[in-house]
């Protein structure tokens, strides 16, 4: 029997931000599809909790603050050769433009942009990505495909990520490494609870009703796209920013 092209069997995948939200959803689904997953986050206990929910054997954890250069270097030195990486660690920020200080930009860009880009740079430089590896950035519809007031810093960090993702797809193509980003609409996660603190329940209901599919996303809605990009089924897909968003950018 030929191998299921959507299977991740035999692949080792690194996932950042894996202790909650979209990253955790990706870890669960990647494991379900047969991958060995290295789950990355700040808290070892929470990572172990994620692993306890995952199918299969051979998963491992890496706990550390991935905005810290020495931690990034340690991660890259310790991990085995990877067939895929999912960058899902991220933070939110709501601030109108007039309150968008350099300090806030720095805080968000450190986590959402500089950290994943530096990890990828070192993974490539230290030859930790196997032939035909797949890199997936969890981005957002915000910043490139949708704009909402108060969302400038977060959107800019994700637009920067989409830009580098596309650039890397070209520069890493000779190594047969594919690089794509997934741009979710609103997904119910701890990160989005950060956004929604600033708005009312009424606003949230109104926003949800605006989605053609009439609901916010679930982590597994995004994980399905991520697993596809990690799999051999996506062998000819690179340089794309794929919106998974309940149709919100279809308007």
């Amino acid at each position: 029997m030929t191998k299921n092209p959507f299977s991740l069997e035999g692949k080792t995948i690194l996932i950042t931000g894996a202790s909650s939200g979209i990253g955790q959803g990706c870890a669960l689904m990647a494991a379900q599809m047969g991958a060995k997953v290295i789950v990355c986050g700040r808290n070892e206990e929470r990572l172990k909790e994620t692993i306890s929910q995952m199918q299969g054997e051979g998963h491992s954890t890496f706990a550390g603050e991935l905005t810290d250069q020495s931690v990034i270097e340690k991660l890259v030195a310790e991990i085995p050769s990877l067939n895929g990486v999912v960058f899902s660690a991220g933070i939110s920020m709501t601030a109108p433009f007039t309150f968008s200080t350099r300090e806030k930009f720095n805080k968000v860009f450190d986590v959402n942009f500089f950290s994943p880009i530096e990890i990828l740079r070192l993974l490539v430089k230290k030859k930790k990505l196997a032939n035909e590896a797949s890199v997936v950035f969890i981005s957002s519809v915000g910043g490139n495909f949708g704009f909402s007031v108060g969302n400038g810093i977060y959107g800019a960090s994700k637009a920067a990520l989409n830009s580098m993702s596309r650039l890397c797809s070209l520069e890493l193509a000779p190594k047969k490494i594919r690089v794509n980003s997934i741009c979710p609409g609103m997904v119910v996660t701890p990160l989005v609870e950060g956004f929604s603190e600033n708005i009312t329940q009424e606003d949230i209901q109104k926003d949800m009703d605006f989605y053609p599919l009439k609901r916010y996303g679930k982590p597994e809605d995004i994980a399905g796209g991520v697993v596809y990009l990690l799999s051999d089924a996506a062998s000819w897909v690179t340089g794309q920013a794929i919106c998974i968003d309940g149709g919100i950018t279809a308007y």
Binding site: P96, F99, N198, I199, Q201
Partner: protein, 77 residues
Amino acid sequence: MKTLDEFVALFAEQLDETDPSTVTAGTKFRELDEWSSLLALTLISMIDEEFDVVLKGDDVKNSETIEDVYNIVVSKI
């Protein structure tokens, strides 16, 4: 700690179309013509910057007057 009057002045600074001299502690701010979700976010950001207090959207929605907001801020300091 800023006084109620200073808070009212800070609030008035965020407005574009309302004459600041008409803004008082008793102003029902959500009834202002220019009130919007952006102004609500601006108010929350101003309070974060000036008082180091983070209000929730519902704190603003459940307040009627500027003084109501001030009292919530004071209670969270």
